[in-house]
């Protein structure tokens, strides 16, 4: 034997401490037993080795963790790995499946092992993945998927596609049964993009790609020159809603998943775990009053924009809320939070962005969030402050009626406790559809400065038709009587402004809605935490979590 010229092992290192097979070979039973032990150890080690040292090095050289390393970030407790020698190579078939204990809760997890055949999918591991997914559904535990897969395993031919089909089916079957979080690592195309998006939440970090095809195919088919990041990076998907949350690196994604988990129930027949709070629910929120006072007393007055998350952070337990899709359509905020320990979904118009008008993106974002909360027994609180749906050719051409209708239908369908707090504007169709009493709100509250009306300030043209005509008449006769154009116009404008003020005073207020019983009560600024939390607590005490049943409606 010749010594190699280079070695990276310590020649002095101690020999293998494991019991060696009997040296003399006299005891055949002992030898057999030892062989079995050795085999057992090899089988246990096999999946942990992945694709071998060189492949692990390649994975690391891209700044990416291996699937095993990612699991360790999710939990310090030992993972319960299932079917670890699955596949003809006994290597686990390039996908790791198991049950983790994360902060005391059981969570099913899968993760592609990119070091084995680039984490690609075939019938073998598709079958394995489907089995885990069905198991999570059956046992009613959440699912976390760590996606890092090049797509279908090409040498496996159609079999590879079958593997995807099986996994697609399994994930769709448990959709609505247990919530899931898809973490996007590496480069995921085709089936590798669709599968994770079937889950509840998708989290993507920097230096990753999600797309139907990569930039290479885009170049050859369409001739477009585009980088992977511009085609399918987190900057793209965070804005389209393909991704719910974007982060800066793998570690941040994994930690974000464990921060999201406490807001999710185990399944569709249980509540989100209640979290006892030391933040008193009857705390008067002075800041709420200050916020409104500052906003409405500013020069822009009732038209002043206001970042609604400032309101959320002041009323939630210890100021914490967790925004979903914060990169997209922030004219509507969707966020989880807690009130008096109950997890709740907030759907809040945000006048700080695009005046809080609901456009297609906001409607789709809201629909998605409301449907999720509805399926998983999460109560909803709607914070209303919008002048309505965004009109115009662009929106109409893109079908805002479809998108707005989705939002409306998703609200009608809600069966969990749902409250509405009207802060300022609640006009027309937006008022009617936005969790009003007659679309099924459990209770509707209003702030005293709310402006609940059929129309915004333009409504005076309809309500005061006679007065309007009178003003016009006076204007014309003044001109006829020799008044200058400027004089007459000034008098007319003054009268019109007075009419507007009268309209705002008389009709843009909560009185009519209260008198009709459409709104339950007035809540003074500073008291909304108390009122919302108490009502929520009451409603939740009467609410039995259960799976959605009943007729499937036509549109989604």
């Amino acid at each position: 034997m010749t010594t190699p010229a280079y070695s990276t092992t310590n020649p002095f290192s101690a020999p293998d401490p494991r019991p060696a097979p009997d040296a003399d070979g006299t005891s055949s039973a002992g030898a057999l037993y030892n062989e079995a032990q050795q085999l057992g150890q090899e089988l246990l080690d096999k999946p942990l080795e992945g694709g071998g040292v060189a492949r692990v090095l390649t994975q690391h050289s891209k700044g990416r963790m291996t699937v095993w390393e990612r699991i360790k970030v999710l939990t310090a407790e030992e993972p319960n790995i299932l079917w670890q020698n699955w596949g003809p190579g006994l290597d686990g078939a390039a996908i790791v499946t198991g049950i983790l204990k994360i902060d005391g809760r059981d969570v099913a997890v899968y993760g592609h092992d990119f070091t084995l055949r680039a984490g690609s999918m075939d019938a073998t591991n598709g079958d394995k993945l489907a089995r885990l997914i069905y198991m999570a559904g059956e046992h009613g535990i959440p699912l976390i998927g760590m996606n890092d897969s090049a797509g279908a395993f090409v040498p496996a031919g159609v079999g590879g596609l079958d593997g995807y089909s099986e996994a697609f089916t399994a994930l769709r079957k448990i959709s609505g049964v247990v919530p899931s979080i898809s973490l996007m690592f590496g480069y995921n195309a085709g089936g590798g993009a669709y599968l994770p998006r079937q889950g509840s939440f998708m989290i993507q970090c920097n230096d990753t790609f999600i797309g139907l095809t990569g930039p290479g195919v885009v170049k050859s088919v369409l001739g477009e020159d585009v980088t992977a990041d511009d085609l399918g990076g987190p900057g793209v998907h965070g804005q389209s809603g393909v991704c719910d949350l974007v982060t800066k690196d793998e570690l941040a994604s994994l930690r974000t998943a464990t921060r999201l988990l406490p807001y999710l129930p185990d399944n569709n027949h249980s509540n989100v775990p209640f979290a006892e709070t030391s933040d008193p629910i009857d705390r008067h929120v002075w800041e709420e009053d200050l916020l409104f006072r500052k906003t409405f007393n500013s020069p822009a007055g009732m038209n002043a924009p206001m970042d609604i998350t400032l309101y959320l952070q002041n009323i939630c337990d210890h100021g914490e809320y967790f925004e979903i899709q914060p990169q997209r359509a922030r004219n509507l905020i969707t966020a989880f939070g807690r009130l008096g320990g109950h997890a709740v979904g907030f759907v809040a118009n945000n006048s700080a962005v695009a005046s809080g008008q609901i456009d297609i993106a906001a409607a789709l974002k809201g629909t998605r969030f409301i449907r999720f909360c509805n399926l998983y027994n999460i109560p909803l609180i709607f914070i209303e402050d919008t002048t309505g749906f965004l009109p115009g050719t662009e929106q109409e051409r893109q079908g805002i009626i479809l998108a707005g209708r989705k939002l409306l239908d998703s609200i009608i369908d809600v069966r969990t406790p749902r409250l509405t707090m009207i802060i300022r504007n609640a006009f027309g169709g937006a008022y009617a559809s936005y969790n009003s009493h007659f679309v099924g709100a459990s209770m509707v509250f209003t702030m005293p400065m709310a402006r609940i009306a059929v129309m915004g300030p333009a409504g005076k043209d309809f309500v005061y038709k006679d007065e309007m005509r009178g003003i016009e008449k006076t204007y014309r006769s003044a001109l006829k009587d020799g008044a200058s154009e400027a004089e007459a116009a000034a008098a007319r404008d003054g009268a019109l402004a007075a009419l507007s003020t009268r309209y705002e005073r008389d009709l843009m207020n909560p009185k009519e809605a209260l008198s009709l019983g459409s709104v339950s009560r007035v809540v003074m600024p500073g008291e909304s935490r108390r009122v919302l939390a108490k009502n929520l607590d009451y409603l939740m005490s009467r609410y039995e979590p259960s799976p959605m049943t009943g007729v499937q409606r036509e549109h989604e």
């Binding site: 010594t3 190699p4 010229a5 280079y6 070695s7 990276t8 092992t9 310590n10 020649p11 002095f12 290192s13 040292v53 060189a54 692990v56 090095l57 690391h60 050289s61 700044g63 963790m65 291996t66 390393e69 990612r70 360790k72 970030v73 310090a76 800066k248 690196d249 793998e250 570690l251 941040a252 994994l254 930690r255 921060r259 406490p262 979290a275 006892e276 709070t277 030391s278 933040d279 705390r283 002075w286 800041e287 200050l290 916020l291 500052k294 970042d307 998350t309 400032l310 952070q313 002041n314 337990d317 210890h318 100021g319 914490e320 807690r338 320990g341």
Partner: protein, 914 residues
């Protein structure tokens, strides 16, 4: 207080009548400032048995920024004592008075006995404190009368002179003194007045010089020349000689009254330069004509000054000092790193010091004692009745009084680490207690001041130091915060005042995300630690910063600067005497590293090294070490400050630089282990894999370490040259015990472990090329920088490399940082530029407010504004890189092509490999 056996106990729980008599139970204190000191005050109040306390909460801490709640709200013991105010202070006199009224109203309505203002803006405001005193509320801090006596700079200086304190030597009335030289008495002055028909009446209550000044003023109004330029020149020579007599070898500054920005100023080194200097400044000031006011100042020129200060405590009768602090490491008037400057520390450093270093330290000790004595005299003089800071500038071993800060300062904790304050019962020598927190001393003085016996100071630690963690970029410019998502816990010996940011959500225990954008100033936290020596102290700070993990979105802090600098100090000279310009030069030097490091491409380096390897086997081994080598190097190259620190700490230890060549002194396998450790990437089970050495790389390093340890064990040598000689020889019995095959395997392992490690020499080579390695500290413990880092123009360019402006196409001006946009300097002024305007390079274009700092953004080139989407957008929030103007540059810059960039990087990288 601490009992005689150093147990923390509130006075009212003490076991003697005398101790109980200092009970603080009656105090209900309103804290009217924010930041780290508010958190600290609550902590101290809890520990010392203050009955109750409350806080103000401003809108900016609750309803202006999302995820920016005053973190104290999560844990305050008295949630009912939170009082809402629009702001903690006022902008302008009127608002300030309104704030004061509001605070007093809150305090009286809610029965507060005392008010504490920390080091907030109001803490030294005599109007504020007078109003508190008038309202019958106790102020925890120096009283209004003390502030009036000590606060005004001129008066304070006069008082200091009167007390025999040292102030900057010089005179500010050259003209009148020159006149007195000519007209030596009352009669002579009156005669002159008569001769020129000037209205002048001698006032015998005033000095001769003051009368001369009055006569001069009368002369100016009638453009009568009383003193000629020649006479001024002669007088200046006389006065300069007097200064030189006392401070031989120093330079003297001549400064015209009303001069500024370097104009009307000359610095002279000898008497023969005086006349020309006088002529020059008068000419620049355009006061050559007879009858013009030609007065100017003559003072000692203090170029390489250091900023030292003494902490004093007094009760109006007595005043003692508890040592000094060196605060010279500062940038943009912001202090970064502060050390205790105390007798015990200097005494210790003196042990073993020789030659000029010894002389220097001895002089420093004398200087410190003189400052301490002056501070106590001054404190007594102003009847200081709380804590204050006596500020000095120091040049060489001479100190000059600047001002007294009549409040507790940010860096007070440094002094708490150096000394305890010991109070002894005057009637019973055996009975005493210690105070270890200055805030406690302030409360005690506010409540029991007159009764407190004069204390003594007792040494606590030889050295104390403080790091300020600020929201800044790598060039120490303010940066708009970002969001903190996690922060590791403090180490056992670390004192971290993070304003409560690290206090978890009480329900879930999870870190509460914190948005720094809401902070008023850029200070995020204070980190303090003590040591058995200055060096030990620095090592602890280094360890704290090494292990600190602060993660978040768009987060930029000065901690890389701090970590690098601390390590550079440890490796270079822990006792360095930095001057106030040190950090500017140091930043330029680090910028110089960056100009090279950003052109180093490790992939190119790896390819080049692979190419030079002889065979497939060696290439395979090299490839197996790719992440092992490139990952830590890549991280170091991406952080020039970390690079500077690593270089400074290990220069001369891991390698030596000899002329243009670099030699390894230590086994590069150890070098690599050291680098992973420095980067806080050691293997630690339970840590996320992405944050430490990859496991296979860890195993490789472990094997290499074990191998070389065994070689050392067998051969008895640690010497790297010797070990190489043995392993590269033909056999060695000590190593192999005569087993030739084992020796072969050892030789192979040696080759395998060493393969590719010469890439680590990139580190000293970059330091060498950049000139960074030439920085040294002389025997007087003063830093010596190569010339290029001192040149302001070159330095500016180098510092720019540390914080390059965001990339944009050349036809856009973008926001260099996130913040609030303003088109104009003040609401009543026109925008700095409008659409269609032409602008020159360096002309201010708009303003970005970051952390209350209004940063003017200057044009990078000359051009014309062709589109202005930000018209009428004053007060809007912009993000970094956001387009502000579309412009047409006068000269279109040719952008470097990908190929050019690659070529440049190849040239730089290849050049560094050999």
């Amino acid at each position: 207080m601490l009992t005689s056996d150093f147990q923390q106990r509130p006075f009212h729980e003490a076991d003697s009548k005398w101790l109980q008599s200092f009970s603080l139970e009656d105090v209900k204190c309103l804290v009217v400032c924010r930041g780290p000191v508010r958190m600290e005050a609550f902590e101290v109040f809890d520990a010392i048995g203050v009955r109750e306390y409350g806080m103000l909460l401003s809108e900016k801490d609750s309803i202006v920024y999302p995820r920016c709640f005053a973190p104290e709200l999560r844990s305050i013991r008295f949630p009912k004592n939170i009082h809402r105010v629009p702001d903690y202070m006022g902008v302008g006199q009127e608002e300030k008075l309104a704030r004061i009224g509001e605070i007093i109203e809150i305090a009286t309505t809610h029965g507060y006995s005392h008010i504490f203002a920390g080091y907030g803006f109001m803490a030294e405001d005599s109007d504020f404190i007078q109003a508190i005193e008038d309202a019958g509320i106790g102020f925890i801090g120096p009283s209004a009368s003390v502030i009036r006596r000590a606060g005004a700079k001129d008066e304070a200086k006069k008082l200091a002179r009167g007390l025999g304190n040292s102030v900057i030597p010089g005179i500010d009335d050259v003209s009148s003194r020159a006149l007195v030289i000519k007209a030596k008495d009352r009669r002579a002055l009156e005669k002159l007045a008569k001769k020129h028909e000037l209205e002048f009446e001698f006032d015998s209550a005033l000095s001769l010089e003051e009368n001369a000044e009055a006569l001069l003023q009368a002369g100016y109004s009638k453009t009568v020349e009383l003193v000629t330029i020649e006479e001024l020149q002669a007088a200046a020579e006389t006065f300069s000689k007097e200064i030189w007599q006392e401070y031989p070898g120093k330079r003297i500054r001549f400064k015209a009254i009303g001069g500024g920005g370097g104009k009307g100023q000359r610095v002279v080194t000898g008497v023969d330069e005086v006349s020309a200097a006088v002529m020059d400044i008068l000419a620049e000031q355009k006061v050559i004509e007879p009858g013009s006011n030609r007065n100017f100042l003559i003072e000692l020129n203090l170029e390489t000054t250091r900023h030292n200060e003494i902490q004093v405590v007094g009760n109006g009768e007595w005043c003692i000092n508890v040592g000094g602090r060196d605060c010279s490491i500062q940038m943009h008037e912001q202090k970064q790193l502060e050390f205790s400057l105390n007798e015990e520390m200097l005494q210790q450093a003196l042990e073993g010091a020789t030659g000029e270093t010894r002389t220097t330290l001895e002089a420093d000790l004398r200087c410190l004692r003189a400052m301490e004595a002056d501070s106590e005299r001054f404190g007594e003089g102003v009847r200081l009745d709380s804590v204050s800071t006596f500020e000095c500038i120091v040049e060489g071993a001479d100190h000059f009084f600047m001002e007294m800060n009549t409040r507790i300062q940010v860096e007070h904790g440094v002094s708490e680490l150096a000394y305890y304050i010991k109070f002894t019962n005057p009637d019973d020598e055996g009975e005493f207690f210690y105070v270890d927190r200055l805030i406690e001393a302030m409360v005690l003085l506010a409540l029991h001041g007159a009764r407190l016996p004069k204390p003594t100071r007792v040494s606590r630690h030889v050295s104390g130091a403080e790091i300020r963690v600020n929201a800044t970029n790598a060039a120490l410019q303010p940066h708009a915060g970002g969001m903190i998502r996690s922060w590791s816990r403090p180490l056992s010996y670390e004192i971290r005042d993070d304003q409560g940011i690290g206090a978890p959500n009480p329900d879930t225990g999870a870190f509460a995300y914190y948005n720094l954008a809401g902070a008023y100033d850029s200070n995020i936290a204070l980190i303090l630690a003590a040591g058995d020596s200055r060096e030990h102290n620095l090592e602890r700070l280094s360890e704290i910063m090494r292990q600190m993990e602060l993660r978040g979105d768009d987060l930029k802090t000065n901690s890389p600067v701090q970590y690098g600098l601390i390590n550079w100090l440890i490796g270079t000279e822990p006792m360095l005497k930095p001057n106030t310009r040190f950090l500017t030069h140091y930043l330029a030097a680090v910028g110089s590293i960056q100009t090279i490091a950003r052109n180093v491409d490790l992939q190119i380096a790896a390819v080049e090294m692979l190419r030079t390897l002889p065979d497939a086997e060696s290439k395979a081994v090299f490839r197996s070490k790719e992440t092992l080598l490139l990952r830590p190097l890549g991280r170091l190259l991406a952080d020039p400050h970390g690079f500077a620190g690593f270089f400074g700490r290990h220069d001369g230890e891991l390698w030596t630089i000899d002329g243009d060549s670099v030699l390894l002194r230590e086994n590069p396998a150890h070098f690599l282990t050291e680098l992973y450790h420095y980067l806080h990437m050691d293997f630690a089970p339970g840590k996320p894999a992405s944050e430490m050495v990859w496991e296979q790389d860890h195993e490789h390093l472990e094997a290499a370490t074990a191998f070389y340890d065994e070689i050392t064990h067998r051969t008895g040598t640690r010497d790297w040259t010797e070990i190489q000689r043995l392993l590269e020889g033909s056999g060695n019995d000590a190593i192999s015990g005569g087993d030739a095959e084992l020796f072969d395997r050892c030789a192979a392992a040696h080759r395998g472990f060493q393969l590719g490690l010469d890439i680590l020499l990139l580190i000293p080579r970059i330091a060498l090329r950049s000139g960074f390695s030439e920085i040294r500290v002389d025997e007087k413990l003063e830093p010596v920088f190569p010339e290029q880092f001192l040149d302001p123009e070159i330095a500016k360019k180098l510092v720019r490399a540390l914080a390059p402006p965001p990339k944009a196409s050349s036809d856009e001006i973008v926001a260099p940082s996130g913040g609030t946009f303003y088109a104009r300097e003040a609401p009543h002024l026109p925008p700095l530029v409008n659409e269609g305007d032409h602008f020159e390079e360096g002309q201010p274009l708009f303003i970005i407010e970051v952390m209350k700092m209004f940063n003017k953004v200057y044009a990078p080139c000359a051009g014309t504004v062709v589109e202005n989407p930000m018209a009428d957008s004053d007060g809007h929030i912009v993000r970094a890189g956001q387009m502000i103007f579309k412009i047409r540059p006068d000269e279109v810059v040719v952008e470097e092509s990908e190929a050019d960039i690659r070529e440049r990087r190849e040239a730089v990288t290849h050049g560094l490999l050999t």
